[in-house]
């Protein structure tokens, strides 16, 4: 009986090999399909827009004349919004992750919080736009400003930052914490000096990927009222003049209206003149390049600072 069970049936082997081969080809075809769609998109955009890319295109304001139009206000808007979004969401997100991972007791309440965060991560972005419109623009009266936009995007990526930071913190072996405690360190000292540095590459990778999601978001920003035509830059945060102390900081820019690259692209794509479509393609290349840079930074950090625990 046992001997028979071990006996290899050539038909079964043949069938399994065939299934194996079929699966291999299905997998290869899926990969080819995904890559060729992406390649087609890239080639199309590059062939349409590459010729339009120039320093002037990057440093001009939008215009009714396609040949004179540029994306300066959109690029600056994108960077300002992303910077402020990062400044708001990273401290809050990482702090929340540290609390949940290092301090919170595991009980029904923390489980409820965790469940909600996981849920929020998959809420469509337009919902965050409506929330931003109701809370920041109307209730808090921040107007349709850079501040409203950045706070809305910060809310949008907060769940992703919390989740990825928690994963990074979880990956730090418990022995590290024990070693720190055994030296008499407090919980905060342990977190600050041992756990957080060890988890930093993971946290940064997750954060950068979250930011590169936010950079392409259009719906929530349109909802809170980002503008389409804007031919000036936010107020400079620093001004120099003759009165003491000569250098002045200003936060006026937080209240300034703004536009971002995806909105500029969206507008150009829907114009009747074909020359605007070329502009849109060129702006898409710029947006793709920025996203690619961010993702490359994430990959670099992941490899550069990767640690192996013994």
């Amino acid at each position: 009986m046992r001997g028979k069970a071990l006996q290899l049936n050539p038909n079964v082997i043949k069938r399994n090999e065939r299934v194996d081969l079929i699966f291999k080809w299905v997998a290869i075809l899926s990969t080819i399909l995904a890559i060729s769609v992406l390649a087609a998109l890239l080639i199309d955009v590059l062939s349409d827009g590459a010729g339009r890319l120039s320093w002037k295109f990057l440093t001009s304001f939008p215009s009714r004349r396609p040949a004179r139009a540029g994306i300066l206000s959109a690029i600056v808007g994108t960077f300002v919004i992303m910077g402020l979004t990062a400044a708001v969401s990273i401290p809050v997100g990482v702090a929340a992750a540290i609390y949940l991972e290092e301090y919170a007791r595991k009980n029904w309440f923390t489980r409820l919080v965790e469940l909600n965060i996981a849920n929020l991560a998959s809420v469509p972005s337009i919902i965050y736009g409506l929330l931003g419109l109701g809370v920041f623009v109307r209730a808090m009266d921040l107007e349709r400003s850079i501040l409203s936009g950045a706070l809305t995007l910060a809310l949008l990526i907060l769940p992703i930052i919390i989740i990825s930071s928690r994963e990074a913190l979880k990956a730090v072996p418990f022995s590290i914490r024990e070693a720190s405690y055994s030296l008499g360190a407090t919980r905060w000292q342990t977190t600050k000096n041992a756990v957080l540095p060890a988890a930093m590459p993971g946290i940064m990778t997750g954060t950068i990927l979250a930011l590169s999601r936010a950079i392409g978001e259009t719906a929530p920003l349109i909802t809170i009222g980002a503008l389409t035509y804007i031919a000036f830059l936010p107020t400079s945060p620093i001004s120099v003049d003759g009165t003491f102390p000569f250098i002045h900081l200003s936060f006026e820019w937080l209240k300034d209206p703004f536009t971002v690259l995806p909105i500029q692209i969206f507008n150009w794509v829907s114009r009747p003149q074909k020359a605007f479509l070329v502009n849109a393609a060129a702006a898409i290349i710029v947006l793709l390049a920025i996203t690619l840079l961010l993702n490359a930074a994430a990959v670099y950090i992941r490899y550069r600072f990767r640690r192996t625990w013994k």
């Binding site: 939008p62 215009s63 009714r64 349709r144 349109i222 009222g225 980002a226 503008l227 389409t228 035509y229 804007i230 031919a231 000036f232 107020t235 001004s239 003049d241 009165t243 102390p245 250098i247 002045h248 900081l249 200003s250 936060f251 006026e252 209206p257 507008n267 794509v269 829907s270 114009r271 009747p272 003149q273 074909k274 479509l277």
Partner: protein, 335 residues
């Protein structure tokens, strides 16, 4: 070193908060509303900012005529781009918030009815035929070309049109079906007119409508349908849409004036007054440049007069889209 930086930063921060900003707050004119009117306002804003040498900034958003009025009537914007006259609900909303408005026509726009270039049977269409296709009761029933006119082939009709939030849709339904916002629901709708151009140009059974500018940029991919409104007073037989036929009032009923609305509160600010005056004085050339049809000079003069006097309210009685308003009609109402 670290302490020095912290000290320097906190010093800067403290003086930023303590000292009142030396910078003069910049003057801002906020415009929002229709995507149809957007190209004109964008052009005017560009020229105006140049003429003011950066002293006044203009922002232009796109949220549709209706979406724009919602912001306008809350007092969030100074000027609203509108591709149709204001509706009663919007007038009410404005009144509730104490916002009065001046209505100023800025250009004419035509709506083009188009088919695929390979469509050999459609030579022209009457308003009645269009109505038979688009009215709500046609849904699921009128599905073949042969049902529209005898002799047309027994092929399916595939319909394309702008989304129901657009002023173009509002106007088309009012002009063709007779009731604003009433149409069949089984058509391919898109807020992006280029999607409609793409749809009609790749589908031999297609019939669609959108702004004339989109046809004029794509004459090689589309075939435009002359329209017969059955009235001989404004041009006998079918009329092909063009800047001329829209301007001389023969392309009816699918020609319409488009507007800007100025908030009476914002009008008191000199920068808004300057912007609107600049708008009306320079509209003629800029309107043509961005692909729309300018009003006669006299219409701009009358609008300017209306603005200077601050005459509020809608000449359309706040009843939304009105069909068959020719330039002459408009002028006589403006008086």
């Amino acid at each position: 070193m670290k302490k020095l930086i912290v000290a320097a930063l906190s010093f800067l921060l403290a003086n930023a908060l303590a000292v009142t900003p030396v910078l003069a707050k910049r003057l801002l004119v906020k415009v929002d509303g229709s995507s149809t009117v957007y190209p004109i306002t964008e052009a005017v804003a560009e020229e105006f900012q140049g003429a003011m040498r950066g002293k006044v900034m203009v922002t232009v958003g796109i949220s549709g005529t209706g979406g724009g009025f919602k912001k306008f009537c809350r007092g969030e914007t100074d000027v609203n781009d509108a591709s149709r006259p204001i509706k009663p609900v919007e007038v009410k909303l404005c009144r509730e918030n104490g916002i009065d408005f001046v209505e100023l026509p800025v250009a004419y726009d035509g709506i083009a009815v188009v088919v695929n270039p390979s469509n050999s049977w459609v030579d022209y269409m009457t308003v009645d035929e269009l109505k038979r296709i688009w009215e709500p009761s046609a849904q699921g029933k009128v599905t073949r070309w042969s049902q529209v006119r005898k002799g047309w082939p027994d092929r399916e009709i595939h319909l394309f049109g702008p989304g129901v939030d657009s002023g173009t849709y509002d106007y088309f339904t009012k002009a063709i079906v007779g009731q604003e916002g009433a149409s069949r629901g089984d058509f391919t709708a898109s807020e992006d007119d280029n999607v409609l151009v793409q749809g009609v140009s790749t589908d031999p059974s297609a019939l669609g409508f959108f702004g004339l500018a989109y046809y004029e940029e794509n004459t090689d991919k589309l075939k435009v349908v002359p329209i017969d409104d059955g009235k001989d007073t404004n041009g006998k037989g079918p009329v092909t849409p063009s800047p001329e036929t829209v301007k001389n009032g023969t392309y009816q009923p699918l020609s319409r004036p488009i507007f800007i609305y100025v908030s009476s509160k914002s009008m008191k600010r000199p920068e808004v007054k300057d912007f609107v005056t600049f708008y009306l004085k320079n509209a003629k050339d800029l309107v043509r440049e961005v692909g729309y049809i300018p009003l006669p000079d006299r219409a701009y003069d009358l609008a300017l007069e209306r603005f200077r006097k601050g005459i509020t309210g809608s000449v359309f009685g706040g009843k939304g889209a009105k069909v068959g308003v020719s330039i002459e009609d408009l002028l006589s109402i403006e008086k």
